[in-house]
Symmetry: C2
Subunit: 179 residues, 2 copies
DNA sequence: CTATGTTGCTTGAACATTCAACTCAAGGAG
DNA sequence: CTCCTTGAGTTGAATGTTCAAGCAACATAG
């Protein structure tokens, strides 16, 4: 039901989707539902880690000093502060990260431990291989780049802040500032 | 950490991503994490429904006789049978769907009730508006179609069966067979 | 110097999802 | 006919996520 359900009334208000658009929308919805769990399979198997936790570690791994504040990390990992707090709690008890009070106010910094880092080094290759197998390779470079641009436009519509945080991290990664 | 972490060893095995590819990948990951919850906000507010439950109703709403078998529905909604079973249980207790034993074997059919249908009619416009606001309109028709094609390629890589189920439903929708 | 607000995070309970085990019905194989 | 095996769902416990409330450290205003 993404097109007009029953054309009884004139239905002036709703701008329904064309059948082309419905097709695209359905495909996108299927991807957002399936891709995370498809990735979870590999991560869970190889490291007892879910996708969200992986994103956290990936973020820290590329941050200066392997450290980020909670709020920034929440924005980067596209999760709520609460979800992050729970997740970091779990990961702390497994010894992958530590929390330290940051300079000012009530702020908290999260940093990756050596154990966390070595875990990442163990899992990352498999994860990248999955990324290739499911997305990058089937699409090829051209379409992958196109997809990236489309996603950035969507993110901008959802919340303009996210794009800038991600871009910042990506710039750091590209520069190799962290190595 | 989607690129090479520390170039000590030759690292013959892993084909890391280029910085262009990492950018696209990061944007895609952010979308798959954020889009469902962004959509949930509207659905929850307007109908106490989450995105997965909406997909179930949407599937039924476009199915002949507003009815589908559990397995087919699971495939369509990109969820596990177990998840679907729990979700349908909840929705049944709210009076939106009913389960009836289907002809052969252990099979079960799920159908949308009148209450479910009228609920859909109430929510759908708002949902479509969100779909437009966050995706279709910012991208424009060309890029939306491109995005759809890319998603279909990804789905094919994850599980070739899904594409056909979705296409089948979409064909029905396009034909208007259910009206 | 109290009161009021704001930021940044944590917490607990309610709710949803996953995982592994189980049931029940058919379909063969011998 | 009896014994696997497979297919289709269900169930309960363990795990994760969300939601609303709470709390501590400042800031600002009176």
């Amino acid at each position: 039901m993404t097109r007009q359900p029953s054309p009884k009334e004139p239905d002036v208000e709703t701008k329904w989707l064309t059948s082309e658009e419905v097709r695209s929308w359905a495909a996108l919805m299927a991807v957002v539902e399936m891709l995370p769990s498809a990735l979870d399979v590999q991560l869970k198997r190889d490291a007892g880690l879910n996708h969200f936790e992986y994103m956290i570690l990936a973020g820290l791994s590329d941050a200066p000093g392997h450290t980020m504040g909670m709020s920034q990390l929440a924005l980067f990992s596209s999760g709520s502060l609460s979800r992050l707090s729970h997740a970091v709690g779990r990961m702390e008890s497994k010894g992958w990260v530590v929390r330290t009070p940051a300079g000012t106010g009530r702020a908290v910094d999260v940093s990756m431990t050596a154990a966390g880092r070595s875990m990442m080094e163990r899992v990352a290759p498999g994860h990248v291989a999955e990324a290739r197998r499911l997305v990058v390779d089937p699409l090829g470079p051209q379409r992958t780049a196109q997809l990236g641009r489309a996603c950035r436009m969507i993110l901008d519509a959802i919340d303009p802040n996210v794009t800038s945080v991600i871009d910042a991290t990506m710039d750091r990664v590209a520069d190799g500032t962290t190595r």
